[in-house]
Symmetry: C2
């Protein structure tokens, strides 16, 4: 007697869409990383610089930065150490805020960000944005927004 | 005198689409990893198991496996060592093929793959596929296929 729920394997069309999505994700990460390499940055480094440069006083609480970049605190901590050694950020304790270890963008970090941003945007255009029509971009956003919302909702739960 | 080419920053619509795509990529990786954790597998482990299980004789040359999973050979080597320690794969030298160090799926690896696959498919459905309409999946594939082709073409070049 079969008591398990039957697995709903992907149909061919679903499999094709999923496979294409996965391939683009991996290939694009690889390409964007390669374009950032001459600047000594990884994609994660760049994402940290973007987050800090857009924050008030160019600083963020480490726990907020971990949430914003979807990393575990321990992994972020290792990354911030590397970036600190490269002079891009520094850690700062906030005396008036007991929760507060902050990551702060340094002048060198801001300068690096300004220098790299045009190249990174060009890379994103060349390898993704400019390959999609404006209509396709609108559709992509419309399709993926509910997915992002669903996943964001899940992320809160343990 | 301005001699640099002006940076073509992303428009608001492009920025929104790009941001949504990036968020989904990260959140989805996080969620799929979390769903694989009870089985002691990472997404990369799972991908290796899929590749080997679909190969003739359940084995692949390490260099082919690195290409298929878009990893560097050194990173793949570390991963295969971990998976070897977990009894999922083994390395094998091919005496008649001088190029050949192979990764081979073990019985335990195949068994693990069979056990995990239904859960992973359910996870992919719940957090991605089932959130998109059939039309959206067709559009997604159509939009991303040229991107995948472009990036695959680039990947060969050094």
């Amino acid at each position: 007697m079969e008591t398990e729920t039957a697995t709903r394997w992907l149909t061919d069309a679903e499999q094709c869409a999923w496979r294409t999505y996965l391939d683009v994700t991996r290939l694009l990460t690889y390409q964007l990383e390669r374009d950032l390499q001459p600047f000594g940055l990884t994609i994660n480094d760049y994402e940290i610089l973007v987050n800090l440069s857009e924050s008030a006083d160019l600083r963020m609480r480490m726990s907020d930065l971990a949430s914003a970049t979807l990393q575990s605190k321990s992994r972020l901590s290792h990354q911030i150490t590397r970036m600190e050694n490269a002079g891009l950020v520094r850690r700062e304790n906030c005396e008036s805020d007991r929760r507060g270890l902050f990551a702060v963008l340094t002048d060198h970090g801001m300068e690096t960000m300004r220098k790299v941003a045009p190249h990174h945007v060009e890379s994103v255009r060349q390898h993704f944005i400019d390959l999609l029509s404006p209509e396709a971009l609108v559709d992509l956003r419309a399709s993926l927004t509910p997915v992002a919302e669903h996943l964001r909702g899940r992320r809160g739960k343990v």
